[in-house]
Symmetry: C2
Subunit: 298 residues, 2 copies
DNA sequence: CGAGTTATGCTCATACCCAGCATAAGTGGG
DNA sequence: CCCACTTATGCTGGGTATGAGCATAACTCG
């Protein structure tokens, strides 16, 4: 029975000032992580303990993301490493220790921020490089669909697919580290991270962008009271695209998720906005939602 | 750096004759499983190898389900076990070895089959027991919502929540094994499984019931050609509830997933039905779907 | 006071989903 | 051959959700 060490890796997300942030260590080069030890009551408890030890950031909601053990991860000499990754949501606090800090996640994935329209780098840099790389029509098609080229719609959920495509095409530094060490092209898109942390971050972003559509996860990201515009901007930061204001409001209040606090926000720059808070009692009822099959009554 | 052994556990699903089946070993008491070994190229490869070795059932689509390491799992003396579970879909083949076989999953979760209306056992057995157990209004509420009592709608996705509620209420044998060994009430609902395999199965069913609503997973479960009724019955088997026939058909062909083979099925008992096959070329296009945010054009 | 900014209410067309009606095309029994 | 029964398939009519915009209200700043 060969034993393997188990590693815990955290993608901790906050939204501050309209920017989606991820908690990092090692001068923005790595995600908080540590090994699963016998003192840990559970995987999740071990993860919380490592994050708090490395960054002193308190955690709220945490869910499991994915477990990796592929042999393309670091040294495989003395037993392999299993990596269990988690996604967590919080509000940003001051962090300390181990060169810890909060980074905009678009630093690692600049092409994912489509709030100001399609980033220039996609047309100028990524699309041409992908077309040069794509040998078969199938690969062409894959590039066109995942990046929404040729006028196709942008699908913000395909974060991981886009990263993997860039990886296979040799357009991220992580690929060169493994397959062509030494020679590194200048100006590859997005900052790299240690080992496969950037891939794990992509997995986390994708999960969050999917989840936000059917479950009100922004709960954990918002302060106690907020305006609807702030809430909208938080969602926009995560989704990487802009939303229709009036329809967003209708959506929110049709869900009955929030209630007015009675107070108003005055520093809006325009008409003062009502302040809202989340209704505490909605947790369970949420569970009832969700269906897309043509069900039958009886 | 404490090492732990890693275990792979498989929830392999097929649908045969309108029955959702799960692949088991040990005379229907356990799921196929084995330890992750250095010879395995990846977690998934290890899993496939164990399943084929233990049951000789060929596998198709496989995806990761969840990773467990909670200390409520078996012996925690000499190093802990990490369990990585997978969900797989196939067509049922003849299996052999290790007391392997296919079981209807409703054998383990009889309350989950609502195709013939709410099973009598819910009103007769489960609901009263839960009401007796529920101490606080919160617990009452939880029981009422997860089991759709008091006329509330049944949500077929809450498979895991229902199992966990029954567990906490001491209404499944697995709870008694851990917390009150020796004395076992008669007639607890559903057959038990080894260790926490029934919980893992619940996780798999829940995942499948969720997934079937936004991705055409039944691909792997169907023979090469089939009638629309057979397809509908397959979905009904998984969802545990009946669907509106005409609307189901409209849904299917609006998705452009299938095409007519030209042939007809004659043994329907009524008017002969057209036979269909899945269109092979639809894979990528699927990716574009899925959104529920009020997006903006520009 | 006017320009600029944000908040908020409402409308309208469209797409999609629920539920059922109606008809077609087989089977088996008298 | 006719009838009762079963399954297949087409279509309609009402509801609800969604996309896109118009219009107005209530502030700040110069």
């Amino acid at each position: 029975m060969p034993a393997a060490s188990t590693e815990l890796i955290a993608v901790i997300v906050a939204v501050t000032g309209g920017d989606p942030r991820v908690l990092t260590i090692a001068d923005a080069r790595a995600l908080p992580s540590g090994s699963f030890e016998s003192g840990h009551r559970s995987l999740q408890a071990g993860l919380r303990s490592w994050v708090e030890q490395q960054t002193h950031q308190p955690l709220g909601y945490v869910e499991q993301l994915y477990t990796f053990a592929d042999s393309d991860r670091g040294a495989e000499a003395a037993g392999r490493t299993i990596s269990v990754s988690y996604l967590g949501l919080t509000r940003e606090a001051r962090v300390t220790g181990q060169a810890a800090g909060w980074q905009s996640w678009y630093r690692y994935f600049p092409w994912e921020d489509q709030r100001g329209g399609t980033p220039a780098m996609i047309c100028a840099q990524i699309a041409p490089a992908l077309r040069r790389w794509a040998a078969s029509p199938v690969q062409q098609q894959r590039a066109v669909i995942t990046f929404g080229l040729d006028g196709r719609p942008w699908n913000e959920e395909l974060v991981l697919q886009r990263y993997e495509l860039l990886y296979e095409a040799g357009l991220v530094e992580e690929w060169h580290r493994r397959h062509a060490p030494g020679q590194l092209p200048q100006s590859l898109p997005g900052e790299p991270m240690a080992v496969d942390h950037r891939r794990i971050l992509a997995t986390g972003i994708a999960r969050l962008r999917t989840k936000i559509k059917y479950r009100p996860v922004f709960f954990e990201l918002m302060p106690d009271s907020f305006t609807l515009l702030t809430l909208q901007q938080t969602v926009e930061a995560l989704a990487g695209r802009l939303l229709h204001k009036q329809n967003f409001r209708r959506l929110i209040d049709s869900q009955n998720l929030v209630e007015e606090t009675g107070a108003m926000a005055t520093e809006t720059g325009g008409r003062p906005a009502k302040l809202f808070r989340f209704r505490g009692d909605v947790q369970d009822e949420r569970a009832i939602a969700g269906t897309k099959l043509p069900l039958l009554r009886s």
